[in-house]
């Protein structure tokens, strides 16, 4: 294949202050090919695509488009060369129509007014490029996420994009929607569009990709064909065996032989209309129960219902033999439940408030006397837990939003450690957390279970589920699809349970 690439990032590097994020990486996108970018969170994938899209400028190396060295000072410059990015968070205006969104910024006008019929026609032409047949007057906000993504792709193609950067486009899609996206991608490939594809679903790589560039800690590791077996890819990506990365030490070791640790959390026949149904499981002291499944399988909804954050229709949640009232967060906390929510900034922390305040919210009322907040006590508790969890900060009065992702997450954990919670419900506990802090969080989980606590962990990162769980529940379409012991669980076994329904249909 001696074809000239559409775009090449050649030996590029990028540093932010003292941190080198990308070091000497080369990646090319060819016409009619899908180049996959593979790497863990923090491996430098997003920095790399931002260089290609004109958001960041490389500090070293060069960018070559059609054989010519170029600079991309702005996203507009990249777009003019035919490079368009489909971001994970879509850049559409939900309150405007599809036609207006597709033509945003270049509305056809007639006598200074928007030419409605030209607008519709050009939008329709754009949608037909990817075979999308929907009324262009529909508001974008009324479309599902998958359709919105297609609208964004149509918009990119209508400004003559030859290179599409697809940043985790399948993360929020159902299996079925993913299939239709792949069909569109196959069609674009046959028409000579080059694509750079990022996904955390390893099984998608062979399905849609041609070649894979593997990154680790900002460095180029290998370029391999997309048909490379998944284990092989994981090994390249992680660079060490999974056991080292997930230092799970089971709490069961502390248990006298022959006795079963006490059951702490019991969930029975829990159902919430349209979200999950008939979920039952128990968690024992010292145990980490992993909950795996695809996005949209109802895992977050289940966790939130157990934590009291949302109401449910039927079933019971019992902690140490005592049933919890529905939708009552205070009662759940009193019973020992601590909830580390999915969206740290949106749900976990008051980012503008201090580390001290954030660590103390759950215990604000319980440590108060006559309605007066216990400032001195709170301060010393916060100071102690921040030291114990090694939260890296200037002072405890610093705004928590200024800390790194890993340290922010430790602050959420710290809140529940101060509250002496014994049942932790973790929803994507290491999302956006760098590798070093990840291991610290895993060690924290070990410490909690070793002290007799129980953990329920929802995660979309399969290696994390496999590496840290003592038992794994797999959810599919709101139901329990199966249960695996740590010994039985493999990526294949989990994915088969998580996606079985779809496989049967096909």
């Amino acid at each position: 294949m001696s074809q000239q690439p559409l775009v090449t990032l050649q030996n590029v590097g990028k540093t932010f202050g003292p941190v080198t994020v990308i070091k000497d990486v080369t990646v090319s996108v060819y016409a009619g090919k899908v180049q996959v970018l593979l790497g863990e969170n923090g491996a430098g994938k997003s920095t790399l695509i931002k260089m290609m899209a004109g958001v960041y400028q490389p500090d070293a190396g060069r960018i070559v488009v059609d054989g010519k060295t170029v600079t991309l000072p702005t996203t507009r410059a990249a777009e003019e060369l035919g490079i368009a990015t489909i971001h994970q968070e879509l850049n559409l205006v939900p309150t405007m129509s599809i036609a207006e969104n597709v033509m945003l910024g270049r509305m056809p006008t007639k006598h200074g007014m928007v030419d409605r019929s030209a607008l519709r026609n050009r939008a329709r032409a754009a949608l037909s490029l990817i075979g999308l047949d929907i009324d262009v007057d529909t508001l974008v906000g009324e479309l599902g996420i998958a359709r919105q993504q297609l609208v964004e792709i149509a918009k990119a193609l209508s400004i003559n994009a030859r290179i599409l950067i697809l940043d985790e486009p399948t993360a929020a899609l159902t299996r079925h929607e993913t299939e239709s996206l792949f069909a569109v991608m196959a069609d674009l490939r046959s028409r000579g569009v080059g694509m750079l594809f990022i996904s955390h679903h390893l099984d998608e790589i062979a399905e849609v990709g041609d070649t894979v560039t593997v990154l680790r800690d900002g460095e180029f590791i290998a370029e391999v064909p997309a048909s490379t077996p998944e284990d092989e890819l994981v090994k390249l990506m992680v660079g060490r065996s999974i056991e080292d990365q997930y230092p799970r030490s089971t709490g069961a070791a502390a248990q006298p032989a022959g006795t079963q640790p006490a059951e702490i959390l019991a969930v029975e026949h829990l159902s919430s209309n349209g979200q999950f149904s008939d979920i039952s499981f128990t968690v024992r002291a010292g145990e980490v129960l992993g909950i795996a499944g695809l996005v949209g399988a109802g895992r977050t909804e289940l966790i939130r219902a157990i934590a009291g954050a949302d109401h449910y229709d039927s079933g019971t949640v019992t902690v140490r033999g005592r049933a919890l009232p529905k939708g009552n967060i205070q009662a759940a906390i009193k019973a020992g439940i601590g909830h580390v929510p999915e969206d740290r900034k949106g749900q976990g922390l008051v980012t503008g408030a201090s580390v001290n305040d954030n660590l103390g919210y759950a215990t604000l009322a319980s440590t108060a006397r006559l309605g007066l907040a216990d400032f001195a006590g709170q301060r010393s508790r916060a100071q102690a837990v921040a030291t114990k969890l090694r939260i890296r900060m200037h002072t405890i009065d610093q705004a928590v939003g200024a800390l790194s992702g890993g340290n922010q997450q430790k602050a959420v954990f710290g809140r529940w450690i101060i509250a002496a919670s014994t049942v932790l419900l973790l929803d994507e506990p290491t999302r956006g957390v760098d590798v070093g802090a990840k291991v610290e969080i895993y060690e924290l989980m070990n410490a909690i279970t070793a002290a007799g606590g129980a953990i329920v962990m929802v995660s979309s990162e399969l290696p994390e589920i496999l590496g840290m769980s003592d038992r794994i529940l797999v959810m599919r379409d709101g139901k329990l699809a199966g249960e695996l012991t740590a010994a039985e669980a493999t990526q294949d076994a989990v994915m088969t349970l998580a996606a079985r329904d779809v496989d049967e249909k096909n």
């Binding site: 205070q330 906390i333 929510p341 949106g346 008051v350 503008g352 108060a368 405890i396």
Partner: protein, 323 residues
């Protein structure tokens, strides 16, 4: 001391930091010095007492507003609720024949109830606070006119006492200082006060941490209503009568005072001391412009520019600190 990590601020006084964090106070001091130089009438005992009396109504309203803004809301009804509370109190005394002290309490209760309704509509009825309190503004002002039939009603002696003197000191100033202490104590020291910052900063995170967000919001608006009632009674006491059009538009002065005092309309930030300074800035400017014979038309222009300047400087300061 438990703080071990602030070597720079522990020894000696950090002037730069103090100036950066107290822009409104610095502005107030500069303003006072300028007026002292510009006119001999400014720094006289009588004028200072006048300023104290004038600031009392605005500041008490603004203290209540501070709770709401810290918790991430807005209360447009405080002016109308102030008028309604004073009117209810006078009506209870004159028409219902209640003893004066009970009429006074009745006025406070009326304000509290109006606030509770605001809070319920916002927290449980899911109305944005802007809309809920805009409706209350109209309802409360309307009820004031209904009760009074559009005419002023005489206040009981107990309410007039609030507008009178305690020895040489005007009562409104005494009430103002007590209200400031109580409000500051509530916001800084109590669980409910600390919770307001969390709710204003991120209501969902506060809820998931177990804070009773809805109850907190109802309390916040109830406090705003109560402080508005107190402000209304102060105003009526000074005039010896409850006026149906009293305190019209005062909600905007209250919001301005809170914002000049450094609070953020997006919630989670704000202090009673800042609000106090903000109210003083507004009143001192008006007072000074009066002494300098500037017409009230131009005064409005100046006040508007001051609000824009105060918030603009604040936004700039936060931006540079974060980058």
């Amino acid at each position: 001391m438990s703080t071990t990590t602030q070597p720079a601020t522990r020894r000696g006084f950090d002037y730069k930091k103090f100036l950066a964090n107290n822009g409104a106070l610095v502005g107030l001091v500069v303003l006072c010095i300028a007026l002292f130089i510009a006119t001999p009438d400014f720094l006289t005992g009588q004028n200072l007492l006048n300023i104290g009396i004038q600031v009392s109504t605005v500041a008490v309203l603004a203290f209540g507003m501070t709770f709401v803004i810290v918790a991430g809301g807005i209360d447009l009804s405080v002016g109308a609720v102030a008028a309604l509370s004073a009117m209810v109190s006078s009506w209870l005394f004159v028409s219902a024949g209640l003893p004066g002290w009970l009429a006074l309490v009745g006025g406070l209760v009326a304000g509290l109830l109006a606030g509770v309704v605001n809070g319920l509509a916002n927290a449980y009825g899911k109305l944005p606070s802007f809309i809920a309190t805009l409706a209350m503004l109209s309802v409360a002002r309307g009820l004031t006119l209904v009760i009074s039939d559009g005419r002023p009603i005489k206040t009981p002696a107990e309410v007039s006492f609030l507008g009178g003197n305690l020895g040489p000191v005007p009562m409104p100033i005494v009430v103002l200082l007590v209200a400031a202490l109580v409000a500051s104590f509530l916001l800084n020291r109590t669980v409910i006060g600390r919770s307001m910052y969390a709710v204003g900063g991120n209501a969902e995170a506060a809820r998931l941490s177990g804070l009773p967000v809805k109850r907190i919001l109802v309390t916040v608006f109830a406090l705003a209503g109560l402080f508005a009632a107190l402000a209304g009674l102060l105003l009526a006491g000074r005039l010896d009568s409850a006026q149906p059009q009293a305190a019209a538009g005062y909600e905007l002065d209250a919001i301005a005072a809170v914002v000049i005092g450094g609070a953020s309309l997006s919630g989670g930030l704000g202090k009673i001391s800042g609000t106090f300074v903000g109210a003083l800035v507004l009143v001192v400017i008006r007072n000074g412009l009066n002494l300098l014979n500037v017409t009230s038309f131009w005064q409005q222009v100046v006040i508007g520019l001051v609000i824009a300047l105060a918030v603009g400087v604040d936004v700039l300061r936060r931006k540079t600190r974060n980058s």
